[in-house]
């Protein structure tokens, strides 16, 4: 501690800005970790809270994915002796149509039986709606709303609000107001309750329910009733306690959580580089000080501990700041995530309150400190191994001995060999990830060697440009390989991560654009929801005939795409008229004969599965997919595998008649409309709106609008990658500025000697500039190269372990081209100040040691 106070504190005071930047590195990592995870947890907690509040005293919930089921199921459930109450539910999130309200969770319940499950706790003057539900039931426009929603929108008992229903705009009357808390707190208080049979009409459910909430007779065990209900209803139904819905939501959003984990690791890795870099420099700067300490009797152990303590202090400060800023940014991120997940997954959740898990905060803090100490470990060991005599010989420290160079090269090659072997075991996730980390380690170990090779290669070029200055710059880099490799290494890793992220985003986007081009080619989409992915509202299939009758319409395809459970995971089941689809689209077939695939699927004898499902579930053409349905188990052989990005967990395309047969559901999510040759899609869209849209809820999107929407959602998904890109780029720039500044400042004496022996100021200045730019060039070359290799393995991780997306390798040349001038400019500008200080400073002062 005394050493810390006597040595470290004055150094920190002298280099305040650098210390701040170093701590900021860890703070950045912890901020991302805390912010993203807290936001993610808040969204999940928001969903769980909504489920919990909406469930009331429900012990079991019966559902069939998103598909819903016929009303007759209710009677079968109610007839089971173990069941005390079974109440049907329809749940949908709608745009409230009110400026200040946003989205509204509408719960359709049967007011007769539902009172036994949920406590509506109505305000006094409106409680007759519960006491006497006759008016509520007799008037299908009846709504019960929460006090919060009422207050936010200036609504009271008897107020009217308009909602777009499947029968057009309808005015609803507030007939009850729930007191705050309990059920009224679900979905952040944006809750409305209506009669379930009215909800069927409003949301176009036909005679189907989304769910049945069940309470059991006294003394009946939940597991016992669960088994009986499963046996009664068959495998197509999920019978689970309400909490299981939270788990299902987590399963749907799994890829998002993986992405968040990746971002957090990425952020901490960047923090690690910054700390490593800063400490390497500090050790280099303070080697004389270390030498004196060693000469005065300080042990290697004490020196190492001193630097580790410094690492811990920086880690504590950075982590504390990171936890605070992470918690602060979490709210904004949670709102963004909530909106995004709502629009992509169509799941009712609202992250109102931040879910700050003390374990997460403590864990992030500890991880930040540990990362900092870990990053300081190698420089601390270097400091401890400083020889007092060598330390007092200026400049010698920057050399790497032949022995060390040989050791590094051997270690790098050994690691590389192991990595290459391990990377061939693609299916063993932990081994593959370890190999991936090993690849990075091998690159770090090889940095001095590669930097030397590249510097030698650059030397003739630099000398050709400026014989004296160029040669001086190259020789200076060659003479101080440790310093050079520290700067180049940090730059290389930051750039590699940038290239990896950018390449991944670019490959994914390109694949999605290709899919959109091939699969989504109708001229118009007629949707019941204001977003093409939302499934809250559904059409009656009879609308298809009305659409076909509109002038200019050539063909109409019906799409129903609920989420169902396949092998325990939620996937998307897409049902369409396959024969029509086969005529209209040209899909990229990954496996199977296209002609046979379309023919078998159209005849209802086969299923077409998405490539991501095939990869993640190990399915091949001819394998049988088994999907439990409400009317039995659907068993179809895989007729073909196509590229399809409809769902991150995978999709199965079956003919509509197969879906209707197995799920008994004839409703439609979206109509795909092809217009006649010569007809303007916009004009046909207007006709549909004017001829049909007046009497019913209907949204017409043009192909361009749908493409734009999908690409917007894709860009939102990769928003994180872009943030990573920016951060990595920023770190690369900061890293090069930091290390070059220190490196030049460190060489003031050397530069002064040059001037003393006759070098012109201009020559010294240009030598420094060229050296900085050369470091930039070497870092760029290695970073862009390593990034390219990493991208290859990131593709494998994404394909085999995360999402099953088999993406085409696309090197992010544009990003690389953009990074090159930025890094070179940063290198150049970072050398300007120190170069000026070096040439304008007092020679006497610089040479006083001599």
């Amino acid at each position: 501690m005394r050493l810390l106070r006597l040595l470290s504190l004055p150094y920190a005071r002298k280099h305040r800005l650098r210390c701040l930047l170093t701590a900021a590195g860890i703070a950045l990592g912890v901020t991302v970790l805390v912010g993203m995870h807290t936001a993610n947890q808040s969204v999940l907690a928001g969903f769980r809270q909504t489920v919990d509040r909406v469930s009331g005293t429900t012990q079991l919930q019966i559902s069939a994915g998103d598909a819903g089921f016929e009303e007759s199921v209710l009677e079968r459930v109610q007839a089971l002796p173990e069941v005390r109450v079974a109440a049907p539910v329809i749940e949908a999130v709608v745009d409230s149509g009110m400026e200040s309200a946003g989205r509204l969770l509408v719960l359709g319940v049967d007011m007769l039986g539902d009172r036994s499950l949920r406590n509506y706790d109505l305000e006094e003057h409106t409680d007759e709606v519960i006491d006497d539900p006759l008016v509520f039931l007799a008037q299908p426009d009846s709504l019960i709303i929460s006090r919060r929603f009422a207050e936010a929108n200036g609504l009271g008992h008897g107020s009217r609000l308009t909602m777009r229903t499947m029968d057009g705009d309808k005015r609803f009357t507030v007939r009850g107001i729930m007191k705050a808390g309990g059920l009224a707190g679900a979905f952040g208080g944006n809750l409305a309750v209506m009669d379930v049979y009215s909800a069927q009409k409003v949301f176009g459910r036909g005679r189907m329910f989304d769910r049945i909430d069940v309470a059991l007779q006294e003394g009946v065990r939940i597991e016992e009733a669960q088994e009986k209900l499963k046996a009664l209803l068959g495998p197509g139904f999920e019978v689970e306690p309400p909490a299981a819905r939270g788990e299902r939501f987590e399963a749907i959003a799994r890829n998002f959580s993986v992405s968040i984990n990746f971002s957090s690791v990425f952020a901490l890795l960047i923090g690690l580089f910054i700390i490593y870099n800063a400490f390497s420099i500090a050790v280099a700067q303070r080697r004389a000080e270390i030498g004196i300490l060693r000469a005065l009797g300080a042990t290697r152990h004490q020196i190492r501990n001193l630097f580790l303590m410094e690492g811990a202090v920086v880690g504590v400060a950075g982590s504390a700041a990171g936890v605070i800023t992470g918690a602060a940014v979490a709210r904004a991120v949670a709102a963004y995530l909530s909106e995004y997940m709502g629009s992509v997954y169509g799941v009712a959740q609202k992250a109102e309150d931040l879910s700050s898990d003390p374990r997460l905060l403590g864990g992030a803090f500890a991880l930040g400190v540990a990362t900092s100490v870990m990053a300081a470990w190698v420089p601390a060991r270097q400091a401890a191994s400083v020889d007092p005599v060598q330390a007092l010989q200026k400049g010698r420290f920057q050399c790497i001995s032949e022995r060390e160079a040989r050791w590094r090269a051997a270690a790098a090659l050994a690691v590389l060999a192991m990595v290459l072997v391990a990377l061939s075991f693609r299916t063993v996730a932990w081994l593959f990830y370890a190999a991936f980390a090993g690849l990075v380690l091998a690159a770090i170990l090889m940095t001095p060697l590669l930097a030397r090779v590249l510097t030698r290669a650059l030397r003739p070029l630099l000398a050709a440009m400026r014989p004296v200055e160029g040669a001086l710059a190259a020789d200076s880099l060659l003479a101080a390989p440790r310093r050079t490799s520290a700067t180049v290494g940090a730059l290389m890793l930051s750039l590699a991560l940038t290239v990896g992220s950018a390449g991944m985003a670019q490959s994914s986007r390109s694949a999605i654009v290709e899919w959109v081009d091939q699969a989504l080619n109708p001229d118009l989409y007629v949707s019941a929801s204001d977003s093409i992915v939302s499934r809250g509202f559904r059409f009656d299939p009879s609308l298809g005939a009305r659409l076909r009758a509109v002038e200019g319409v050539e063909e109409v395809q019906m799409v129903r795409s609920p989420r169902v459970t396949f092998r325990g995971i939620p996937i998307m089941l897409i049902s369409m008229e396959v024969e029509s689809l086969a005529r209209r689209v040209r899909r990229r077939v990954v496996a199977g004969d296209p002609e046979t695939m379309w023919r078998e699927a159209a005849a209802g004898r086969g299923a077409i599965i998405s490539e991501n499902l095939a990869i993640m579930q190990g399915l091949r053409v001819g394998d049988v997919v088994e999907i439990p349905a409400t009317h039995g188990v659907l068993r179809l052989p895989v007729a073909g595998v196509v590229v399809d990005f409809s769902d991150q967990r995978g999709s199965v395309l079956v003919d509509r008649k197969v879906y209707v047969k197995y799920w008994g559901d004839e409703t439609v999510n979206t109509f795909r409309v092809y217009v006649r040759k010569g007809a303007a899609p916009e004009e046909v869209a207007r006709r549909i709106q004017s001829q049909i849209g007046g009497g019913q809820r209907l949204f017409v999107f043009t192909n361009r609008e749908v493409r734009k929407y999908i690409l917007k959602v894709t860009d939102q998904w990769f928003g994180l990658s872009y943030v990573q890109l920016a951060v990595a780029g920023l770190v690369a720039v900061l890293g090069i500025i930091n290390t070059l500044t220190v490196s030049i400042t460190d060489r003031r004496r050397e530069l002064a000697v040059l001037q003393a022996v006759g070098a012109l100021r201009r020559q010294v200045r240009q030598a420094v500039w060229m050296e900085a730019v050369a470091v930039g060039v070497i870092g760029l070359a290695l970073g862009l190269g390593l990034g390219g290799v990493m991208l290859h393995y990131i593709h494998i991780i994404i394909r085999d372990h995360v999402a099953g997306m088999n993406l085409q390798y696309i090197y992010p040349a544009e990003t690389a081209a953009m990074l090159a001038p930025v890094i070179l400019a940063a290198a150049f500008f970072s050398a300007l100040g120190p170069a000026e200080t070096a040439v304008r400073g007092s020679l006497v002062e610089a040479l006083e040691y001599e």
Partner: protein, 250 residues
């Protein structure tokens, strides 16, 4: 106690049960009519003294638990047209459907919901079912004077086949004319509802209460049902008691 004493107790109990059942059968016999129609006026007075009123028209075809009935609300305006169709079965629980004209569809009233209040009244859906003698077991508890009238007090318990929210009921039957004077319904926690039959009148040879008052002792609220334009044995066709008829007449 010797075997003779046991036999005597058993015989006495059987005779008592027989008496109670005979009384109930006589009640049912005297009130039997092939059909019934009335216009009901309902007044609900809650614990705070607030009142609400409704009107309905009631029609029943058949009797003794093998009957069909329709209750159609006629007032207030916002509930007009809502109807309840009840198919009573002698051997099992009744079927009930609600007709909702505003959304033009029927809704089955689940057995689990029969114990809930009938649209803000103190009657439950189950209370509106027709009681058949065979669905209960009876025990004569003795005689009591109720509102100046001599009555038999009989305990009735639903048989296994009869699903009921009530564990048992106490029925007071006027000795004078074999009409119900009062029914007290019990749940496990004790007495929950009391139904009084008042304003007796002889209508087409059948003694009929023209005022029924249900008192919910848990909520301390009361519902008074006035029967007007009461008729028995009116010509009602079977097809009036179907979901199609509800739809047709809405």
């Amino acid at each position: 106690m010797n075997r003779l004493a046991w036999l005597w107790i058993g015989w006495a109990a059987a005779v008592q049960a027989q008496d109670a059942r005979q009384i109930m059968e006589e009640c049912q016999r005297r009130s039997r009519a092939n059909s019934q129609r009335y216009e009901g006026s309902l007044k609900v007075i809650d614990a705070r003294g607030r009142t609400s009123e409704k009107r309905w028209r009631y029609e029943r075809l058949g009797s003794a638990g093998n009957s069909k009935a329709v209750i159609r609300f006629t007032a207030p305006a916002e509930v007009k047209g809502v109807a309840l169709l009840v198919h009573n079965h002698p051997d099992r629980v009744s079927d009930q459907w609600m007709w909702r004209p505003a959304i033009a569809r029927d809704q089955r009233v689940a057995v689990q919901d029969r114990g809930t209040r009938f649209f803000g009244t103190d009657f439950t859906f189950e209370d509106l079912e027709e009681r058949d003698v065979d669905q209960y077991e009876y025990r004569l508890l003795g005689s009591e004077t109720l509102e100046g009238e001599e009555c038999w007090k009989i305990e009735s318990r639903p048989k296994r086949s009869k699903s009921s929210q009530y564990t048992h009921s106490h029925v007071w039957v006027r000795k004078r004319n074999y009409t119900f004077a009062q029914i007290e319904n019990f749940k496990r926690q004790g007495l929950v509802r009391r139904l009084r039959y008042r304003d007796m009148a002889l209508v087409q040879g059948i003694w009929t209460a023209r005022t029924l008052e249900m008192h919910d002792l848990e909520r301390n609220s009361r519902t008074i049902l006035y029967l007007e334009k009461l008729e028995y044995n009116v010509a009602l066709s079977e097809d009036r008691f179907t979901l199609q008829a509800l739809r047709r007449e809405s």
